[in-house]
């Protein structure tokens, strides 16, 4: 997994609540059997004026000029600022894959849906929860200043504005550790293989029906 230590970059707005994963990456692009290449279809139905198809070259498609990601001022953005309950809906990991592939490294919101939140950490994408009024303040600063950038320091658990204002955020120790070091979750769990086998032996005595093979 990609490491996350510090990120400083342009912020783009997604100024609505309850952004669902169907909106982040519509289902017609989930037919891919790869993990990469979803960036060009991020927010597809909002970004383009026509209906997108999988494996299509998007360079000639008509852009929705009113959608912020298409504004010149937000090109190259690496931080997405949005509203409550971001990532609700389906469990598709294609949503963080698409955000990552587009170039986002972090998403800031007052709250996230559970599965999206969890999936993001597996892909080096940092979801940051800040208070609702802080998010509102950041939106106002973002709209007022072209080229608005934020700096994120994971070790310090802090978001820093251009004026030097600092907002700290919470993160689970385990997730922080994995992100900082780009650690493979599976490798870590397999270090506990003996504990897993011991559990299985104990459980087979208590509830043998759970180990009946399906065939």
């Amino acid at each position: 997994m990609k490491r996350f230590t510090q990120v400083k970059g342009i912020v783009a707005p997604m100024d609505r609540a309850n952004v669902d994963t169907d909106m982040i990456i519509p289902k017609n692009f989930l037919k891919s059997i790869k993990r990469t290449g979803f960036g060009k279809n991020l927010f597809d139905e909002l970004r383009y004026l026509d209906e997108g198809q999988p494996d299509q070259d998007c360079s000639g498609r008509p852009l929705n000029k009113e959608f912020p990601l298409n504004f010149p001022r937000y090109q190259g953005a690496s931080i997405l600022l949005t509203r409550e309950n971001f990532g609700c809906g389906s469990s598709r990991e294609h949503a963080p894959w698409a955000l990552d592939d587009y170039g986002f490294r972090a998403v800031i919101a007052p709250s996230f849906a559970d599965i999206f939140f969890n999936n993001s950490f597996k892909n080096g994408l940092l979801p940051i929860v800040l208070e609702e009024n802080t998010v509102e303040q950041l939106f106002q600063e973002l709209y007022a200043n072209e080229g608005y950038e934020l700096a994120i320091d994971l070790q310090q658990q802090v978001v820093v504005t251009p004026s030097g204002e600092r907002f700290s955020f919470e993160i689970d120790e385990f997730r922080k550790h994995c992100l900082l070091h780009g650690l493979d979750d599976i490798g870590l769990t397999l270090q506990e293989a003996d504990a897993i086998r011991a559990y299985e032996e104990r459980r087979k005595q208590q509830a043998p029906w759970l180990f009946g093979a399906v065939k």
């Binding site: 309950n85 999936n119 120790e173 399906v214 065939k215």
Partner: protein
């Protein structure tokens, strides 16, 4: 010390290791996989040279991409017209064959929607931890199990380690007492719950559904309710074990038998929240006051009783909410204050992991019997959740009742719930749908979804617009 909730008991029984940093390893008993969220996980295993930890814990079936017409299904995977869908289904077959995983392939009679076949085959049992790379896995919580959706990285993690890295959620009790009125179903109950607590109301919680309404409810109804826990923000929904649960499980293909059955039942009887268990949050609804529901907007919380009117954003103060309503009305092509019963439907979809079980087909057929789909409705389709549901419905003659009324009777799959196959809405079309999500574009580019129960969907098909199924003459609602 306070007693334990059902969720506490399920968590404790599966705890492999509690780590110092607050995370834990939870053992997974059953892993269901489908074609959309598994290919990258298999690829990950191959790249790392890993093998599945416990092959016999995994069951696979293709559902999201499969066509539902007899013609396209006739020649199996090769018959799937969309080449990208065909590759994805073929990849699942190839992966299952390579690793030796049990798969109900496209034309196996046991094939169906993952969340329908799990309980139906007995692959999913009370007391289990169940995961699937699909957010509606919570459906299985109706069995008194801890079931939730996971992402693809976690699919790979569970295959490789039989465990999930998790953090214990908080406990929420949704208590609905009283008796439901005629024509009011499990779907209406869960939509009313989401309307009350919102799509983020259950975020961070495991949600138990308790109270008289759920005690009286069939297993199919409980599955409908648990299925949509995620639409209320909760990864897991569940109902305590009772006689209804045990009667349902008995005799299913993979259910235990003989002495093991006796031991299992004794164990399952414990799967109820203790009387003195403490929930972090309790939400109560009066079941007798719930009416048939219809969603009007682009989020499952945008739902109202069928006799209500669409909201007027001018009456809403919160700017974010107000903008949300304005955007939803514009997308849905509705006017503020419009009567829900004045919304015309272009297509009707009865199916999905929410409402495609035998009871749902029966409810639709009971309303449709002796009527005809309105001439203004372009298409009304019924898609059974599995080959077994289809066979049972046909044995009961329900397919004939529906066909007679003008509905199409299809082959099993996810179909128009998320339109990954050929079944989709046209731009701007309104659909009375028994599925679970009314997000923009969910059922097709520019499509407009209204979430309803199977009885309400059938009633809308006949009337050509939304109608209170309780008022429809000559039906058995």
């Amino acid at each position: 010390m306070a007693g334990k909730t059902l969720y506490d008991k399920l968590w404790d029984a599966h705890l492999v290791k509690q780590r110092d940093d607050g995370s834990a390893l939870i053992y997974i008993d059953r892993h269901i996989i489908h074609e959309v969220t598994s290919p990258q996980a298999f690829e990950g295993l191959r790249l790392a040279g890993r093998k599945p930890w416990r092959l016999d814990s995994i069951v696979a079936t293709p559902d999201h991409n499969v066509p539902t017409t007899v013609k396209e299904r006739a020649s199996g995977v090769a018959g799937i017209e969309d080449p990208v869908s065909r590759i994805q289904v073929q990849t699942l077959d190839d992966n299952c064959d390579e690793f030796g995983i049990l798969e109900f392939k496209i034309n196996d009679r046991r094939q169906g929607i993952v969340h329908v076949i799990g309980p139906e085959t007995g692959a999913c049992l009370p007391g289990m931890t169940i995961v699937c790379g699909d957010s509606h896995t919570a459906t299985n919580g109706a069995l008194g199990a801890l079931a939730h959706g996971i992402g693809t990285s976690e699919v790979e993690h569970v295959m490789a380690t039989q465990c999930l890295v998790a953090k214990k959620m908080k406990n929420m009790l949704i208590k609905v007492d009283g008796q439901l009125a005629a024509g009011v179903t499990a779907k209406d109950v869960v939509l009313a719950i989401i309307a009350k607590i919102g799509t983020a109301g259950g975020t961070g919680y495991a949600m138990e559904f308790g109270g008289q309404v759920f005690r009286d409810m069939s297993m199919e109804g409980r599955m409908t309710v648990c299925n949509m826990a995620i639409e209320a923000g909760a990864r897991a929904g569940m109902v305590a074990v009772d006689d209804t649960t045990i009667d349902y499980v008995k005799g299913r293909t993979f259910a235990p038998t003989g002495e093991q059955w006796q031991a299992a039942v004794a164990n399952w009887r414990e799967l109820v929240s203790d009387g003195d268990a403490v929930f972090d949050k309790v939400v109560e609804l009066d079941g007798s006051k719930i009416q048939p529901q219809v969603s009007w907007g682009t989020s499952p919380e945008m739902v109202l009783p069928v006799d209500a009117c669409v909201p007027d954003p001018a009456q809403v103060k919160d700017p974010v909410k107000k903008a949300g309503i304005e955007r939803a009305l514009q997308y849905m092509g509705l006017a503020a204050g419009q009567k829900i019963t004045d919304i015309h439907v272009d297509r009707v979809f009865i199916g999905s992991c929410t409402n495609s079980r035998i009871e749902d087909i029966r409810a639709a057929a009971a309303v449709a019997k002796g009527h005809k789909v309105a001439g203004s409705v372009i298409q009304a389709m019924v898609v059974p959740g599995s080959g077994q549901v289809k066979a049972q419905a046909e044995a009961e003659g329900l397919d004939q009742v529906l066909i007679e009324a003008g509905f199409e009777w299809r082959e099993p799959g996810c179909s128009m719930c998320l339109a990954m196959n050929a079944d989709k809405l046209g731009n701007g079309e309104h659909c009375a749908s028994t599925s679970n999500r009314n997000f923009e574009g969910r059922q097709g580019y520019g499509g407009r979804t209204h979430l309803v129960s199977p009885a309400m969907a059938a009633a809308a098909a006949i009337a050509g617009h939304f109608v209170n199924v309780q008022d429809l003459k000559g039906t058995q609602a």
